[in-house]
Symmetry: C2
Amino acid sequence: MNFIDKLSAAWTTNNSLLCVGLDPDLSRFPSHLQGQPDAIVTFCKAIIDATADLACAFKPQIAYFAALGAEAQLEQICHYLRNKYPHIPLVLDAKRGDIGATAHQYAREAFDRYGADAVTVNPYMGFDSVEPYMEWADRGVIVLCRTSNAGGSDLQFLDVGGKPLYQHVARLVAEKWNRNGQCALVVGATFPEELAQVRAIVGDMPLLVPGVGAQGGDVEATVRAGKTAGGAGMMINSSRAILYAAPQAGEDFAAAARRVAMETRDAINRFRG
Amino acid sequence: MNFIDKLSAAWTTNNSLLCVGLDPDLSRFPSHLQGQPDAIVTFCKAIIDATADLACAFKPQIAYFAALGAEAQLEQICHYLRNKYPHIPLVLDAKRGDIGATAHQYAREAFDRYGADAVTVNPYMGFDSVEPYMEWADRGVIVLCRTSNAGGSDLQFLDVGGKPLYQHVARLVAEKWNRNGQCALVVGATFPEELAQVRAIVGDMPLLVPGVGAQGGDVEATVRAGKTAGGAGMMINSSRAILYAAPQAGEDFAAAARRVAMETRDAINRFRG
């Protein structure tokens, strides 16, 4: 099953648009895991098990693993996800962007090494920096469009022919780059009006929407702005608010994560109809 | 010594603007290294030793290591470079770009884990995605501006207020982002006229210039367009043309790499005066 079909099925099966981000930060781990050699894997597996029936996708952020030299642990976590929850899409958040020959190496990293169903990429270097990922015909390519950080406006809001650059990117991807139906876009939850603009441009294309939770995006405004006519079309990501829901609670971190994940899923669902 | 000073010293000491890129591709390794467990490290160390007196910088491309699961080998190679050739800047080509908290993780990866003197980054997410790298005050931040691939024009050539986007990025970095004098830009050799435009905007800011060698950029046009008044200001990168100068030559791969590196350095130097 390809990425888009797998995502659509997960929206239905788990009645959820929630994407659970996996950003392991050792300093925020529960005390009983501090100093354990397999803390990252133990922590992430517990979060996955606690939320797998509530999520439409899992999204490991590779930077957190790379900073710790923990690629082997990321491999283990991805292997666990693919085998235990093969129906939940695995999105590798890597935001890669490089010339074709190098992009091919990054595609091997994401799809062959980690077995991701989809990977995030940066559009600044153009279509030939994105095309190599599409050789993996069953995988998804999620292109940065409008990001959730304040500085995103520095380039993305520049005026190009009367429209901001991010809308140009949305149009480029929807009309040209998405030849094989593999594309999705990253559009932050911090700008609901812009999310609505992108939705109007790209039809039913899936949107990965970070910025809810620790980044402060408003759930109601986000869902109303970004949903498709069918009330889906989004992976609304929350990472830190779920992972570190009970930073001082010792053994209960997974239960706390589940509670927040369920609250977030349900809050989202209230505005899908 | 900070990155810019170290680079300036290397330009002088080695009388060179040549940056040697390290893109290990196992399928192009000499036959006697094929299948050896330490082939990547052996190959890269031999290239480094053969060219260290000819280069102003070394630039490992992290994608080639990531595709192979060879982060430990990259650590070894970086450690070797820093210890044996501490006067030659180590540029990690990673083209990272993410929100602040995540960018901080990528900065830890580049600067603490690999000990890079500088790292390449993508400007699409704006200043707050670049700023975290600047906390490492002695390191360099090399921002993508005009890339050497054909598809680079898709976004970088869009008209923003009468000028192409890449010139806007050059101006942003030169006038706003380069607060601490840590910044450099990536400008491809495949567009000498655009290289000249960037040089006119950014003064003496160092430029990392890929696209000479396997990518076909013209050395004379590149040097004339990109040099500073002092005849320097560039890291002109060549990777594959040096690394795989003698793909069938067995033991002589390092000697062949040295010959091509010397020819390239000397060709560059002919047009610096």
